[in-house]
């Protein structure tokens, strides 16, 4: 089974008040030197069968029509390698 990760972020020109609230909390927590924070969404899709070009194309369509609203959001689709999956499980 392979994992495909879809990252969804608000477009750069869209105001992100949640990210701003996080950024403003940082100095209080002792984290200096971070000038901007933007918050997004990460979807982890466990795919049955091989993640070939056709499967990725289908996931791209899914991301474009459903997981992201492309009026306000950008998205990326990538296959997570086995090493990363193993690392995440530790």
């Amino acid at each position: 089974m392979a994992r495909v990760v879809v990252d969804v972020m608000l477009k750069p020109e869209i105001l992100d008040p949640q990210g701003q609230a996080v950024q403003r909390a940082l100095p209080r927590l002792g984290f200096e030197g971070i000038s901007d924070v933007r918050q997004g969404k990460r979807f982890e899709l466990e795919v049955d069968g091989p993640v070939d070009e056709a499967a990725l194309a289908r996931i791209h369509d899914l991301a474009e029509s459903f997981l992201a609203n492309t009026v306000i959001e950008d998205f990326t689709v990538r296959v997570e390698s086995d090493d990363v999956v193993a690392g995440a499980a530790k």
């Binding site: 869209i14 105001l15 008040p17 949640q18 997981l67 609203n69």
Partner: protein, 234 residues
């Protein structure tokens, strides 16, 4: 025979009953529609009510937009069926791309519930004919994701074509219902499509149709009398 106006109930809809009541008060016949049912029961118009369909999961309206009833609503709205989206219904209409732009979380990150002052900018849509352009109205507003956004090109186009239907009145005391309540671009509270049959807005006209409830005024009633007049004279 009077007009039949459908009100869709999704899992998580809150204001479907109030909307049916407003339709009845205006003199039309409300028809309950179910999200799993593609059949619109031959209604003459449809209202997508407020609430939190599918818990606002993913994005407000993003999941309900793919419900069976919406397949028919989208198809018939493109063919001219009058559709009004209130609050969650407005979010649904943008997710379904029947209206341009998108709705995001309020800029102050809080849920807001108050009586809101609005200006009617376009009294020529299917749902606003009983108002006059420039009229100021006072109706309840309650939302988490009420921030209307669109790119500059789309905003300019909406303004140039008179498709901004309602704007938040910003000059005045917040306690009296003035101010932009959610960070919506250009103070936009509601818009319409090119044909004027699809209208969406965040505030709730269905909660302001009787003196006893809401703002104590009936400023929301003209939505429902407008569509009735439009349908019976058509």
């Amino acid at each position: 025979m009077t007009a039949r106006i459908g009100v869709v109930t999704f899992p998580g809809s809150l204001d479907d009953r109030d909307t049916q009541r407003a339709i009845r008060l205006a003199g039309a016949e409300p028809v309950a529609l179910w999200h799993k049912d593609k059949d619109l029961k031959q209604v003459d118009a449809v209202v997508l009510p407020g609430g939190f369909s599918y818990g606002d999961y993913l994005r407000a309206g993003a999941i309900s937009r793919f419900s069976p009833v919406m397949e028919t609503v989208i198809e018939q709205a493109r063919a001219g069926l009058p559709v009004l989206g209130i609050c969650n219904g407005f979010q649904l209409l943008t997710e379904a791309h029947l209206l341009p732009g998108a709705m995001l979380g309020n800029d102050h990150l809080h849920f807001i519930c108050r009586d809101q002052k609005l200006r009617v900018e376009n009294a020529e849509t299917a749902w606003t004919g009983d108002y006059t352009a420039g009229q100021e109205i006072h109706i309840p507003l309650k939302n988490m994701d009420g921030r209307y956004v669109a790119d500059e090109y789309t905003l300019d186009e909406l303004e140039a074509e008179g498709r901004v239907v309602f704007r938040y009145l910003v000059r005045g005391e917040a306690a009296e219902g003035y101010g932009n309540p959610n960070g919506s671009l250009r103070d936009i509270a509601g818009i319409t499509n090119e044909a004027g049959n699809v209208v969406g807005l965040m505030p709730h006209p269905e909660h302001a149709v009787e003196p006893l409830i809401g703002t104590g005024r009936t400023d929301g009633l003209p939505f429902f009398t407008s569509i009735l007049k439009k349908l019976v004279t058509a």
